[in-house]
Amino acid sequence: MKTLLIFILTLIGSLPLGMIVALLRKSRFAPVRGFISGYISIMRGTPLMLQLLVWYFGPYYLFGLNIGNWRFPALIIGFVLNYAAYFAEIYRGGIESIPVGQYEAAEVLGYTKTQTFMKIILPQVIKIIMPSVTNEVITLVKDTSLAFTLAYQEVFSLSKQISASQTSFMPFVIAGVFYFVANYIVEIIMKRVEKSMDYYK
């Protein structure tokens, strides 16, 4: 259950945040662009496990703050910010692959910039990036196991504990089956979504 919660909250947070990051990356203001590209570099260039530890221990070691019940929020912040960076790069690739003629046709027809993005560009981007998003979502299912670094009780840490206490290999097998089944469901759902957008090329 806790694994599912991490998974869902991360997607709810990072899918929209990634779009905001992708759009800010094309900002007219150079400092904004610089900040965003620095953020993406760090998120992609350091291990997620390390980032989770920084979010968890950072407030105390850096600022001497002692926040109660910080374990779970730190986990979600770490996951959301990390995945938003990856999604932002996927979105950027998608947005850049839309031919400039689509923007020009929309402009000549009098669509506003917002209309052009929401009605013309975004639906096409979503179709293009679907396979990459599926990849990322599958990775996320497996990455939830990293929550064990903060001693958060999800599938992986639980199976490790049980395995140690019962000196049995079985809990790991069960954890493996759990991840596999979860990803199998993700695959089926994403295939459906992709298929629903098959009506045009």
């Binding site: 031919p99 003629g101 689509q102 020009e104 046709a105 402009e107 000549v108 027809l109 009098g110 669509y111 209309q115 009605k119 013309i120 639906p123 096409q124 179709k127 009506y199 045009y200 090329k201």
Partner: protein, 252 residues
Amino acid sequence: MILEMNNIEKHFGELEVLKDISFGVDSGEVISIIGPSGSGKSTLLRCATFLETIDGGEIIYMGEKAAHTDENGNAVYVPHQEMRKFRRYCGLVFQQFNLFPHYSILKNITDAPIHVQHVSQEEAEANAMELLGKMGIADKANAYPYQLSGGQQQRVAIARALAMKPEILFFDEPTSALDPELTGEVLKVIRQLAEEKMTMVVVTHEMPFAKAVSNRVLFMDGGVIVEQGDPRDVFDNPQEERTKQFLRVFER
């Protein structure tokens, strides 16, 4: 006058693309612009349809100034809000059609009238069906662009532009991406529009078409209008050496 473009200047970096170009379009007139690649034809069209901004000169639609040059020599456009009015005056048909692939043919044509001009859906659809009928592709209303031939797609693009009821319609090499057979069906539609007195400016390499359909031909080269006039004069009796040289290529 529907459109007047006076002393238009445009450069991309160091490269001067349009050098002091002036021309006007009267209501019901069909003008063909011919000339070699890189002569500035397309850029001129893109300036007229506000896809590119001019660096000098003035653009006047229906007697109202959309852009002019101030005392410092900078081109100034009317404020954003007013610009929408000027955009409504003109339509543009692209070489690559640029239909919206995720919209059905009908939605390609009705979406802008409904969401930009706030026409009712019933009215927009009735108008779209009439236009599709005129284009000879009424049976394709529920198809998607990828299911159509290039010639059919371009006719949809023409219908999409006409659905906005522009005062003037520009064509940027509308048949350059089509094979000869499909070219014919698109030119037929443009010819039909000319007979209905639709005001049009067509950048084209189809010389027989330009000669047969247009009231006036502009020959551009190196960012200037080298020669212009009645198509019979320009094609059969060109005055400028550069025009003769260009047209000779097409005689072979």
